[in-house]
Symmetry: C2
Subunit: 275 residues, 2 copies
Amino acid sequence: MPFNETLRRRIRERKSMVCVGLDVDPARLPAPLRDKPDPLFRFLKGIIEATSSLVLAYKPNLAFYESLGVEGWDLLRRTLRLIPEGIIKIGDAKRGDIGSTAEKYASALFDLGFDAVTVNPYLGRDTVTPFVRDPEKGCFLLCLTSNPSSHDFQYLRAEGKCLYEHIAERAGVWNDGGNVGLVVGATHPRELSGLRRIAPDLPFLIPGIGAQGGDLEAAVMNGGDASGESVVINSSRAILYASSGADFADMAAVQTSMLRDAIAAAQEKKRAARL
Amino acid sequence: MPFNETLRRRIRERKSMVCVGLDVDPARLPAPLRDKPDPLFRFLKGIIEATSSLVLAYKPNLAFYESLGVEGWDLLRRTLRLIPEGIIKIGDAKRGDIGSTAEKYASALFDLGFDAVTVNPYLGRDTVTPFVRDPEKGCFLLCLTSNPSSHDFQYLRAEGKCLYEHIAERAGVWNDGGNVGLVVGATHPRELSGLRRIAPDLPFLIPGIGAQGGDLEAAVMNGGDASGESVVINSSRAILYASSGADFADMAAVQTSMLRDAIAAAQEKKRAARL
């Protein structure tokens, strides 16, 4: 089954659009774990066990693992094994390179067991090809990112459209396998509406709520489609570091649950507005 | 000393602008190494020992290491230790992410011992900041890439200029620490002249000769500046896989030497043309 169809089905089955971003940072470990052996693994295990019934997906952020060196790659492998069957695993790597090199990045990530990855489209189609070849594997292209400097290049207007809109259009063309999505920051609520018009069929992976200040309700209202199965809302720090004490996992679950409910409420409001 | 100044000095001292790209691929290992223990390390050791007197820089390509899994990261660490003092180590990772994540990528790469890295600028200034904070470390921004699909987005014209020209302009602004460079493919010889005018002071890392079909002489003539110390020419496969037999290291040295001489001849021709 093509990835985008799997994603829709999982959103229905799991009744959740929440993706927990695994930005695993030794500097922010809860205090009670610091003196224990293998503390990062214990932390991730606690977070995943407490939240897995509430989420659609987990999104390990490769930068955080890479900054741990060789041990980080081993930890990434062990993290993926912690994630129960049926939950989507998104590798947030934002890779992008010429064809022969992109092949290697794609096999590195998919061989680890990721169901989908994030890809930087600046190098164009041949960068993306190896990541979309298997329709069962998903590829979220960076489109309009959540950071303040997204304005530097992404809003440049060419041929009457912004660069990020060009990327969204191409992503639609490249979606012939049914497995391309877009990364669009919740910090751009108005642009989300326009992007939904340009790419009516693509799933949007939406980071930027919480610490980065994006508006959740606007993200769901503007980014979603009629089905309510087209949006994945990511939260990382607000969930992982909800508490720095022994109750870190419980507090992560509380935050995840609140986020899931807030998304459902926004979705309901959207549905009501359409009637 | 700022990285770009170190680079110029090393080009003078080593009388070479050759960068050997370390795209280490198990499928292309010379046959006599395949049954030996630790064959990839033996291969890299052979290549580096045979070519190190002829080169300015080595550029490990992280995709190839990552596709080897945990062992790949260990191999990368051991590869960096093989490179003699005084030779520049460029981490070809093409990372690009929002500020807090970019910090992690930057520390991951610089902690490994790289002197410079390649960075994808699509996300804008805050992506780049962590990579340029230390003036002694270099940051080559992807500008106009060597692959065929570079035409998809990089040539979009906004405000009278192509996207890749916008990036070159910004790179000049972001070079206040004297450590920003550009990646420009040799497959775009005409555009190299224009970029040299836009960014007269930035070093260009030029891939795309050899297997990808770029013209070396045009790259040096059009991409170089008057000093002849502003261009780094990368070659990967043509050197690494010059022979699949027991003479792989000797043949790699022959190819490297030929490339160094061809660059010098082009440089001489450029100098003569200016007189």
